[in-house]
Symmetry: C2
């Protein structure tokens, strides 16, 4: 019987799995946190929680983020959610109605696209280049459409790994103000940087009222916790906090909040994040070198400076949906480009995650992938 | 700084708090479960979970429910949610669009009404008598409206405590088939029975495709776990399981699932439920006697056979919104009737919860309430 989403056949190297390897998960840290919190002295987190989320956690998270972002974060501007996906669904529930336009990047995170579909939203995608989403393209589209939301993954984008430049961040925030739409910035990879620090997050604009920044412990601690947050201006935090779902449930995840809080307070999260960065940085180096050896003449990619992913562009004649069948014969798998497209494009692209496997498997996977491509 | 929703002033007896007292929460049980699961040997529940929910948990839950319901439950018909409210919101997201009609009971759970409002649904309420929601009233309204959902709390209803009769259950299920709407049965109080066993749950009709039954560990274990379920036919379970939010999050709450599973497997949940029933049954007796002494001439109520609540009807000239101010002067509080009405009615009614306080406080609360009423 199965417990978890990732379940690759033992002889398959599945670059499609966008989650940490089971051996990377901070079981010992969480065991210690569990021992401390489940000692029976304080049972408050077993009852309905505060709607906005445990105040102690929000204070500890604000301190952590202020450091990560090199930009002050106010605990009053944070709402604790059950992960980034839950945050995105809440925002869709409260701010959109079916038929509303949401602007997205091309390519974008495929499951965000499915959440938008579940809310009946009309998705319009805009090009991404080496500096991220192009604000000129946004401005052009604004003459035709009045979007409700713009969904961006500004830092170490899923799937391209691209980071939005600081000037573009400022310009997008300005466009949102001028045209009165909301930017939903999915900043879950922000702290997973392996080279230089990324620019200030879009969260830095949240106080102005047109940016909602989404974060998560899924990428920096453990996905199974289902704990994340929204950073936004007080009026938006109030709207989320006071909705029926959040009031009825008593906040989104008091139990996970209780386990994570001590790790923010005692430095455990920081230490673990440092380890993660070291591990992932080594994997980026190894996979980059292996891809250069095996596929350097057949594919182009940017070496990712953070996040989970390599985004490969093959020659235009390739069809990565068809390639996937050949790859599986070589016992390797990946996410084909069209999955990330909202206009059935990107057929010659594919996404590789380096989060799930250790270096020897990543190298072997690159060899198998090269065989499939040739 | 605050962690939990309930935060009454120390000298106030707040009958409005519809949650277990902090001293009732199974801290020791969860500590043991935490020790067993956070031993570091199996980290699978720290990663993205199976979308439908941990298979082990679903099997254990199916066995538990088969016993509770005296009616077989198939683990394939269960989806693990982040509590009942999250289940209800998922159903609204997937099955409704703004403007759709949802039939509800008058009175009904006020936060469900707010969830419907957040989804832009049109709420039409129908009368409840001693045998629950009246199917004749449903049939009449069906000649005027084509509802998408009918939301009912069939057993130990919130707030009235009323239980829908077996014949009415069958008739409602039949109407749902004939008129092709979905019954969402909020069965969270089903296992909290203090007298005779309730009728078979609406869940027993789930296999036929027009009933989705919602359950939760909030009432029988701990609200802070944020763990519940939907029981439904395979096509509906598939629809929920495959939606973007659930796929992206990797199921709804793998961490809580990991803690609750051993308690279902080792009988801990059953033993705790037996204790809870004994505790709550004694509270019902005590509060019933205290109300009879103090308010027997001013109010009418049914003695609840399960659940969390007494529903009091005062003389029609009373306005319980206004009474609340007087009650607070007596350092007692409650939920006024209009909160549970979707047509601004029930001004002479009020709801008292007996879950939060021990017997001496319930008795003192009844005395204070009587002073306010007189």
């Amino acid at each position: 019987m199965r417990v978890s989403q990732a379940n690759p056949a033992p002889d398959l190297i599945d670059f499609g799995i966008g989650q940490p390897g089971f051996d990377l998960l901070p079981a010992e840290l969480l065991r210690q946190a569990g021992q401390a919190r489940l000692d029976g002295k304080d049972t408050s987190f077993l009852n309905y929680g505060l709607e906005q989320g445990d105040e102690f956690l929000r204070h500890a998270l604000a301190r952590f983020l202020s450091e990560q972002y090199a930009s002050p974060v106010d605990p009053a501007h944070l709402f604790i959610s059950a992960g980034a996906s839950s945050a995105l669904a809440l925002i869709c529930m409260l701010y959109t109605k079916p038929g509303d336009v949401v602007l997205v990047e091309e390519p974008s995170y495929f499951l965000a696209l499915r959440i938008f579909a579940d809310y009946g939203l009309r998705v319009i995608s805009l090009p991404v280049d080496d500096a991220g989403l192009d604000p000129d393209a946004v401005e052009t589209i604004l003459s035709q459409y009045r979007p409700t939301l713009l969904y961006t993954i500004p830092t170490f984008q899923n799937p391209t790994g691209v980071t939005l430049s600081p000037t573009r961040r400022a310009r997008l925030a300005e466009l949102a103000r001028q045209h009165d739409f909301l930017i939903v910035a999915d900043e879950v990879y922000h702290s997973l940087s392996y080279a230089s620090s990324p620019p200030r997050p879009m969260a830095a604009y949240a106080g102005e009222g047109h940016v909602l920044s989404i974060g998560s412990f899924s990428k920096i601690l453990a996905p199974g916790l289902r704990l994340g947050w929204i950073q936004a201006a007080p009026e938006q935090i109030a709207r989320v906090t006071n909705c029926g779902l959040v009031d009825s449930g008593g906040g989104m995840n008091p139990l996970a909040a209780a386990l994570v809080r001590p790790l923010l307070e005692n430095g455990g999260q920081n230490e673990y994040l440092t380890e993660l960065r070291t591990t992932y940085a080594a994997r980026v180096n190894a996979l980059n070198a292996a891809l250069a050896r095996e596929l350097g003449d057949r594919a182009r990619w940017r070496r990712p400076e953070g996040g989970f992913f390599f985004w490969l562009e093959l020659l235009p004649e390739y069809d990565t949906d068809a390639l996937l069948d050949k790859a599986r014969l070589q016992r390797v798998s990946f996410q084909p480009g069209p999955k990330f497209s909202s206009r059935n494009g990107l057929h010659h692209c594919l996404r590789l995650s380096f989060a799930f496997y250790a270096i020897p498997q990543l190298e072997e996977g690159a060899r198998r992938l090269a065989k499939a491509v040739r």
